[in-house]
């Protein structure tokens, strides 16, 4: 039995368990597994940076090498969260640095990253290798320069869709000559110029470079030179692609591209003269990923011709100027397609070029492996959604955005309840769903009944009453994130089962019917939740009447109480006994947590937060046995 194995053996076994969820489950089997797992854990994912503190992280996982942090709520992407809301990475880096953690990888999403934090990061971790920033802001090229200059073994610098103040393009020159370890360099989101000579030299001395994504300022002749130096590239993001197809530059480019036989992922074309697309046809046959969603210049025949060369495509991101006909071409060409994202090229315009339900139906018919969809369209019908559900029962992510937020089925004038109902009924593995169009409570009934695996749900301008939200909260057992805007859900729905929110990462409600009194009730009864209120009108929350509706409410589970870096307009409430004073941060006692927490479904969570909070419960049960065999029952459930 397991008790005869020394720790090292168990540790070796655990090395094969890489998925976060599985490792969280392993850690709950018994005390000794918990101990071994935590010392051997290298990668930690924290879905909400305010759910735990860096100190607690290090106390639990002293050997952590890779940290993923997410900050702002998802709706911050759409300007619904004030810029000063929070999500600062500096405190994390500071604590990690001070405790001598050997951090090697940092992946951040929707966090505020200052130049200061980047500099501290670059100087504090000798072996730092990988920095991935997605949708972050707060830094400039100076911060990048610090990373380039100080991280001697940097392998990955991946900047995705960040708002960067890069007034100076010098940072590329800051990579020392001794830096030859780069594997991935992505600066496509930078708006400014870069030092082209430095870029060329950098690529020349990086034999392991596999992924290179350039920004708009990199011209064609530089691209050609880079490709000549790095024919081993697997992932290429083209910056500027403007050339005369008859010119010498174009010939040289064609020659360079043809040497790159390994390219499987292509993106960019941030500036493009679409006459010249034929130069890249030679590599299209190998592409599994194609992202043209930032290239409005490629459309019509040029676009469809290009796609016709890409028979192995698995992931395609495009703009809606492809049109329904273009999607038909996708359907007939890309039989391996798994993920499709169609973005609006003109979100606020008349949408003449946009796609409709026809395109989606065509793709669903032609691409049976489709499992992930993000689709912005002019209109959608129930019949189409039902057809799609029948054709593609494998959806894991289904996000539909009808540009007019409450548009019904244009053919029947009905709400889209039945269509979405078909989707959730057919797609039994559905984990993420975004709704739009005219929707009543009925669709939520369907979601609650059928979407058993649903983890994230985004709702806007939908439903008729509290019932909608209740169906979801009652029915979706694995729900982790619920974000709602402009729906008639009020306190009755919010307060129906506040314990549910502990099993979720977060709940966002804006422009709904929830009042200050309702929020306070949640906070007063749930010490493990932070309830944050954001009010647009400029009034501080303290001055609000309890019966007044709040603009935005964001609540999330946490083990460390309310945060101290919230801006003035935005307050968090702890358990308060009748008065509104903001109490100091206090660590809930073990007994508090046991009393308040129910051991709900734990297997559906990426975060280690649940396993961390349940850790106390294990201890509290005076769990005597160290060994694994008596926990077989629990293991089966995990």
């Amino acid at each position: 039995m397991m008790n005869y194995f020394p720790d090292e053996v168990l540790e070796h076994v655990f090395d094969f368990i890489t998925c976060h969820k599985d490792r969280n489950s392993v850690s709950l089997v018994c005390k000794s597994w918990h101990r071994i797992e935590r010392y051997s854990r290298r990668r930690v994912f924290i879905g909400n940076c305010y759910s735990i503190s860096p100190e607690r992280l290090i106390a639990r996982f002293p050997g952590v090498k890779s940290l993923t942090l997410k900050g702002k709520p998802h709706f911050a992407d759409f300007n619904l969260v004030p810029y000063d809301w929070g999500g600062f990475v500096y405190p994390w880096i500071k604590v990690l640095a001070e405790t001598g953690i050997g951090l090697e990888e940092l992946r951040l999403k929707r966090m505020v990253v200052s130049d200061e934090s980047l500099e501290l990061l670059s100087k504090s971790f000798v072996n730092f290798q990988s920095l991935v920033l997605v949708s972050c802001d707060g830094f400039s090229a100076d911060g990048l320069a610090a990373i380039a200059a100080n991280c001697r073994f940097l392998r990955e610098l991946d900047l995705q869709e960040n708002e960067v103040d890069d007034h100076r393009g010098h940072w590329l020159s800051c990579f020392p000559e001794s830096c030859t370890s780069l594997v991935s360099l992505n600066f496509a989101c930078l708006k400014g110029e870069v030092n082209l000579g430095a870029l060329e030299r950098l690529v020349s001395r990086s034999p392991n470079l596999k992924s290179l994504r350039l920004n708009r300022s990199v011209p064609l002749d530089t691209l050609q030179k880079l490709l000549m130096r790095a024919p081993q590239l697997v992932d290429l993001g083209i910056g500027s692609y403007v050339h005369d197809p008859l010119s010498e530059a174009s010939n040289k480019l064609k020659h360079a591209i043809q040497r790159c036989k390994s390219i499987m992922s292509l993106s960019g074309f941030l500036e493009v003269a679409p006459r010249c697309m034929s130069a890249i046809y030679p590599i299209c046959g190998n592409l599994t990923t194609l992202n043209l969603s930032y290239a409005p210049g490629i459309h019509g025949n040029k676009l469809t011709k290009l796609i016709q060369h890409c028979r192995k495509l698995q992931r395609l991101w495009i703009l809606d100027c492809i049109g329904d006909k273009g999607l038909g071409v996708v359907a007939s060409t890309c039989k391996e397609l798994q993920e499709l994202r169609v973005f609006p090229s003109d979100p606020f315009g008349a949408g003449n070029d946009a796609v409709t339900e026809e395109g989606l139906v065509l793709v669903s018919a032609g691409c049976p492996k489709l499992n992930s969809l993000l689709y912005f369209c002019q209109q959608m019908t129930n019949a189409a959604l039902i057809t799609v559900a029948k054709n593609c029962p494998n959806f894991i992510r289904f996000r539909l955005c009808i540009l007019d937020p409450v548009r019904p089925d244009p053919v029947t004038n009905q709400p889209l309840d039945e269509g979405f109902g078909a989707i959730v009924q057919s797609c039994k593995q559905l984990k993420r769903l975004s709704l739009s169009g005219l929707l009543t409570d009925q669709v939520f009934l369907y979601i609650g009944m059928y979407a058993e695996q649903l983890e994230m749900l985004s709702i806007a301008f939908a439903a008729d009453s509290d019932k909608g939200m209740l169906y979801v909260l009652n029915g979706c057992k694995k729900l982790r994130k619920l974000e709602i805007r402009d729906c008639p859900f009020g306190n009755a729905a919010l307060l129906e089962d506040v314990g549910k929110y502990e099993t979720m990462r977060s709940l966002w409600m804006s422009s709904c019917e929830v009042t200050l009194g309702g929020c306070k009730t949640v906070a007063e009864n749930m010490p493990s939740l932070n309830v944050e209120i954001i009010n647009e009108s400029g009034q501080t929350v303290f001055n609000l009447d309890e019966g007044q509706k709040v603009d935005k409410m964001y609540l999330y589970r946490t083990l460390v109480g309310h945060r101290k870096d919230a801006p003035e307009s935005n307050q968090t409430y702890l358990k308060c006994r009748g008065d509104l004073t903001r109490s100091d941060h206090h660590e809930p006692s073990l007994n508090d947590m046991i009393k308040d927490m129910k051991l709900k479904n734990i297997s559906g969570d990426d975060d280690f937060i649940i396993s961390e909070s349940n850790n106390f419960k294990l201890q509290s049960q005076l769990f005597e046995k160290e060994e694994a065999e008596i926990m077989i029952l629990k293991w089966k459930r995990l």
Partner: protein, 363 residues
């Protein structure tokens, strides 16, 4: 705290994921429950509900519907294209799944059983359901169109479902709490009462709601810059095509060209040549007037580039200018219409019009 609207009872054996409770065993005719108006916190008071049920009994609508979301164990769902049409006044409240415990149900037992998996069709219950809701409905369009101006006066639409819903959940709020909702000028008050059922009205001025459509602001900004920078040179109109009228002296009708398709004056003039060659030739062919020569393609070129015709344009100030003086980019920004005139008429434009008309019309 208000009592729960839905009590979830665990352990319903015959349903895999119960969002609702009290689902009877299969084999019995399943009872229909009016799911809309039954609980204490219904948004409609009981009198309305009673009238509803009477309506239901007389207006049973058993059309096969497009989706049968049958319970596990019932017949496998077949999908039929949706045929259901809106019929105002018909209130069809039959539900597929009994949602609520019998204590507060209105049993529409006369309706057909659900075992076949007939779904409850959505009819516009709102319209016929209650006065309140129909008021809301008619006000919807009004609300939407006026959404921009509504920020100052949200009172009327609040009589719609929001106030109704509020009645059930508000404990002690002030009566006009809805109006107290901060009316952000950025349009967050574009609530759903106002904009549903708007399919037939494509609003001329789309109210821009904050954060809608949900596209990352980074992407929106980048695409906006891209559109400005991109040069369309392959003959397809760009994101905003720039069509201007072209008239030719003596031609019976005008033409239109998209200036964005071209990138130089040379291209534009070649295109115009091709476009108007038919007129010049046709003129001679049709009328056959003896005084005019039979024109060939090359002669036509001479015409336009030589002595007879010049291309002029009307700019934003209304002045007629000779094409070719300013850089192309500036030209397409200021050009409103084009005119191909005889150079004899064009003398008034510039002292050296005659010489200019002999040269190629390109910078």
């Amino acid at each position: 705290m208000s009592p729960p609207l839905l009590g979830v009872e665990e352990g319903q054996s015959n349903v895999s994921s119960p969002a609702v409770d009290c689902i009877p065993e299969t084999g019995l005719g399943m009872k229909e429950w009016n799911y809309l108006g039954v609980s204490d916190f219904s948004s409609v008071d009981s009198s309305d509900v009673m009238s509803l049920s009477e309506d239901n009994k007389s207006n049973l609508n058993l059309k096969a519907t497009e989706l049968r979301l049958g319970l596990p164990g019932s017949q496998s769902p077949e999908r039929v294209t949706e045929l259901r049409l809106l019929s105002s006044g018909k209130v069809d409240e039959k539900t597929l799944f009994p949602l609520l415990p019998s204590k507060d149900g209105i049993c529409l037992s006369s309706q057909k059983s659900v075992v076949t998996g007939n779904k409850r069709g959505f009819s516009d219950t709102m319209d016929g359901f209650s006065e309140v809701k129909s008021t809301m409905y008619t006000e919807k369009n009004w609300m939407f169109h006026g959404a921009g101006s509504d920020s100052q006066s949200p009172q009327p639409p609040s009589h719609g479902k929001y106030s109704v819903a509020q009645a059930s959940v508000k404990k002690d709020g002030p009566a006009n709490a809805i109006q107290d909702r901060p009316c952000a000028t950025n349009g967050t008050n574009l609530n759903r009462t106002g904009i549903s059922n708007n399919s037939s009205n494509a609003p001329a001025a789309k109210a821009q709601v904050v954060g809608w459509p949900p596209v990352r602001s980074f992407r929106t900004k980048t695409l906006a810059t891209s559109s400005k920078n991109n040069d369309e040179v392959d003959g397809k109109p760009g994101p905003t095509a720039l069509f201007v009228k072209v008239c030719m002296a003596g031609a019976p009708y005008l033409r239109k060209v998209d200036l964005r398709v071209y990138s130089t004056y040379q291209e534009l003039s070649s295109a115009l040549e091709k476009m108007f060659s038919c007129f010049t030739l046709g003129q001679c062919g049709a009328h056959g007037t003896p005084g005019k020569e039979i024109l060939s393609e090359s002669k036509l070129k001479d015409l336009l580039h030589g002595s007879e015709y010049v291309i002029t344009y009307e700019d934003k100030d209304g002045d007629w200018m000779l094409v070719g003086d300013v850089p192309w980019e500036m030209f397409i920004e200021t050009c409103k219409r084009l005119k191909i005139m005889k150079s004899t008429d064009a003398i008034g434009l510039a002292p050296r019009a005659m010489e200019k008309s002999k040269k190629d019309c390109c910078t």
